[in-house]
Symmetry: C2
Subunit: 163 residues, 2 copies
DNA sequence: GGCATTTAGTTTCATCTGATACTATATCTC
DNA sequence: GAGATATAGTATCAGATGAAACTAAATGCC
């Protein structure tokens, strides 16, 4: 049924989609992201960037949008939109920056903190369900390897694009 | 260096964005995908779905779009659009299906096969650059773990959504 | 054979995303 | 302190995505 592959194949290794790491990574990530995005959207009306902002603000307190961009790498346009959505729902407050009139300091409101407290267990439960069956060592290694991949991709991207 | 997690952890665990696996996975995947998407787009005018179709057709020969969807999980709309784009550029041919008038059989043209032969080494080089510094064992484990995550996400998604 | 249902693929639409352009403020140089 | 430049954030635009509606052909049922 499948085509016979013969000697004419390139020597330097073969490209099989199912074994190709970027593909595997993308497919796995999409599956996980969609699962989680739907859970947050359906139950709390939050999209992924909004939820990330809430997490960052819950962890780090008052931050400017620029600081969030620096901390997370999320695009500044995405941060701007997420912040607007959250502010409209009074989940975050934007207070004037004491020294920079262009900037605002974002912080969770009481409602925002309550929502975070409500969503966080769900998020952790999803993570637990996803890694069920993996040993702690495997999970730790997975996170480490993902960090390596991301670092390598960023380095290659910077190198290739910026010269 | 890494935080020791022990009994002192809060009862249900704490949510730290940087340690949250779905987040790490998404960030790593986006970094890798963007890197590769730009490379294919800039040099060959291919987007990711188009490149995936080319790979699948190079591996498996003549397939219908439905077979590609079944094989890869790519959305049928995405497959349709990618196939249109590739057919317009004469990189694939669509011949009538012998028994089903709704369906067409997709196969690489000579040009399409040439393009595949040209892009594949680049794709493999990117993969090699990304995993440079990782041991073969680590890479194998990473792929296995990604498969597990994807399977878990699919199972949870089916279970939660469909009831 | 004729009608209902299913299936392959396309079109449409609503949303998300990020690049680019823009506004307003801040900083730097003289 | 005035003008040039840089920066924080927003608005606009173009492309990607996938859900749902749609078309055309196949299959099932009687």
């Amino acid at each position: 049924m499948t085509a016979q592959r013969q000697l004419s194949d390139p020597p330097a290794g073969e490209l099989k989609l199912d074994a190709y790491l970027p593909y595997r990574l993308s497919v796995a990530s999409n599956a996980v992201s969609q699962l989680i995005a739907r859970a947050y959207e359906d139950r709390f009306g939050l999209n992924i960037p909004q939820w990330r902002l809430i997490c960052v603000l819950a962890e780090d307190g008052g931050l400017t949008q620029g600081a969030i961009v620096a901390r997370t790498g999320i695009d500044k346009v995405t941060v701007s939109r997420a912040a607007q959505g959250l502010a409209n729902r009074r989940l975050i407050a934007r207070s004037d920056h004491h020294a920079d009139g262009r900037s605002h300091v974002l912080a969770l409101t009481v409602q925002g903190a309550q929502l975070h407290a409500e969503v966080a267990p769900l998020a952790l439960a999803y993570e637990a369900a996803l890694i069920a069956g993996l040993s702690p060592d495997e999970v730790a290694l997975l996170k480490r390897l993902l960090g390596r991949l991301q670092g390598a991709a960023d380095a290659l991207s910077g190198g290739a694009v910026k010269g």
